[in-house]
């Protein structure tokens, strides 16, 4: 299948909408497995079409323009109007004076409100991080027995010794959460898990999630009870993190 055929036949869109015949679908899949541009196109199309379907078009359709009301003021209302304007002006002056006098108190109240809001934002951020970790763990099918995935957060330095995690019998995987050091701002990482001198798990091509962390699932069958070391490397480059943990069963 050529690019010209794909463009003329709007093949990518038909593919995303599930409207290609089997032979054409297979041919297009084989094409985009080898073509970066077409793979990019098909991903954007899928997002675009799904995005259009999700958009609530009613809410963003422009409302019909409402004609501006025309106000006709009879002659006898004009003095009354002027009087009302004068009263508004007086009120405005009084209000402004009250505001100046009360400025110090208001400034203090604003500062207090800001502090409360910052505390709330910090608590929200921590809660979101916790939720992201739990969602990441839930993205992997849970073992049939316990229904929960063991999750361990690895840190390069820990004041309270080597972290330990119990992996229940029947667990399919262990989730590891790592935060690469800020200095190591690479695009892709590789994680190696060692038991003694043997590399028992190697996971290349890891990318940070929206929290800047790496969330990784390691098959439980690879982790017997014992001491482990996890080395974090820039993919194809230097080591940027070294973590230790203990597995108990």
């Amino acid at each position: 299948m050529t690019h010209d055929q794909i463009e003329r036949g709007e093949i990518a869109e038909l593919y995303v909408r599930g409207r290609l015949k089997d032979a054409d679908r297979a041919a297009f899949e084989e094409h985009y497995f080898g073509c970066d541009a077409c793979f990019e196109e098909v991903q954007r199309l899928e997002q675009f079409i799904a995005g259009v379907r999700e958009m609530d078009l009613e809410s963003i359709v422009e409302p019909a323009p409402v004609p501006a009301p025309v106000i006709v003021m009879p002659v006898w209302r004009q003095p009354a109007f002027l009087g009302a304007m004068a009263a508004c002006l007086a009120m405005g002056v009084l209000s402004g004076w009250a505001l100046l006098v009360d400025r110090a108190r208001l400034t203090q109240e604003v500062a207090e409100a800001r502090r409360v809001s910052t505390d709330a934002a910090t608590r929200l951020q921590m809660a979101e991080r916790e939720l992201a970790m739990r969602r990441a763990a839930a993205a992997v099918p849970a073992p049939s027995l316990a229904g929960s995935l063991p999750l361990l957060m690895l840190e390069a330095t820990r004041a309270d010794g080597v972290p330990a995690i119990e992996v229940p019998a029947g667990s399919a995987a262990l989730a590891l959460w790592l935060e690469p050091p800020p200095a190591a701002d690479a695009t892709r990482y590789r994680l190696e898990v060692l038991h003694g001198n043997d590399v028992v798990v190697m996971l290349p091509g890891l990318r940070r999630n929206s929290y800047g962390a790496l969330a990784v699932s390691v098959p439980a069958e690879k982790l017997t009870a014992g001491a482990y070391r996890a080395r974090l490397l820039v993919d194809g480059g230097a080591m940027v993190g070294d973590y230790r943990f203990q597995v108990t069963r």
Binding site: R17, E29, E30, F33, G34, F39, V42, Q43, R44, L45, E46, Q47, F48, A50, G51, V52, R53, E54, M55, L57, I60, V61, E62, A136, A137, A138, A139, V140, P141, A142, P143, S144, L145, G147, A173, A175, R190, D198, V199, V200, V201, M202, L203, P204, G205, L206, R207, R208, N209, S210, G212, L214, A215, V216, S217, V218, P219, K222, D235, G236
Partner: protein, 184 residues
């Protein structure tokens, strides 16, 4: 890096996202797509090491064929398992392609579209009408319908790329890992 590690890394770099994309579309599950991805790469790697693939040009076709086989096996396995009520498992995480970035980009696209252009997109993608019928309904040339869709897509692509270039991305990555040192 050893040859083996290099091979793993290269295959992953070239094909993981494509396999994952295909599997997610077919199986509607992020978690199962991850498993299909790793199983496919494992089989491809084994085939390469066993000398079953000599021509690199044939690699994309081989990979997609292997992925389709793995997907079929998953489907057959799922159809043989017990009904959901008899299993004590967590629900698979089914992910839509529409995330926060896509929504933001779509909002920006739609804010710039004229009402008639929005109508074209609605008729094309919500009501799934062919472009000739859309053209007849709103009184324009079918080519104009195609142009509206194409421009909206281009606009979405631009906004999306701008938004993603400003923020890191991703999600949980799962894997079987690779038991180094084993002769497969």
């Amino acid at each position: 890096m050893t040859d083996h590690e290099q091979l793993v890394s290269t295959l992953h770099e070239r094909f993981a996202s494509r396999i994952h994309f295909l599997a997610r579309r077919e199986l509607r599950s992020q978690a199962v797509a991850e498993e299909v991805c790793h199983e496919t790469l494992l089989r491809v790697m084994q085939a390469i090491r066993n000398g079953k693939l000599q021509d690199e040009a044939a690699l994309p076709g081989f990979v997609v064929g292997t992925a389709r086989n793995v997907i079929m096996e998953v489907r057959r396995k799922e159809s043989r398992t017990a009904p959901l009520g008899e299993r004590d498992v967590a629900e698979d995480h089914q992910e839509s392609p529409v995330d926060h970035t896509v929504r933001k980009a779509m909002q920006q696209v739609f804010a710039k579209l004229k009402p008639r252009e929005r109508e074209v997109l609605q008729l094309a993608y919500l009501e799934e009408l062919p472009k000739e019928e859309i053209a007849a309904r709103i009184g324009v040339d079918p080519e104009r319908v195609r142009l509206v869709k194409s421009r909206a897509l281009r606009s979405f692509r631009d906004f999306y790329e701008r938004l993603t270039n400003n923020s890191p991305k991703t999600s949980l990555q799962t894997g079987r890992g690779d038991h180094l040192g084993e002769d497969r």
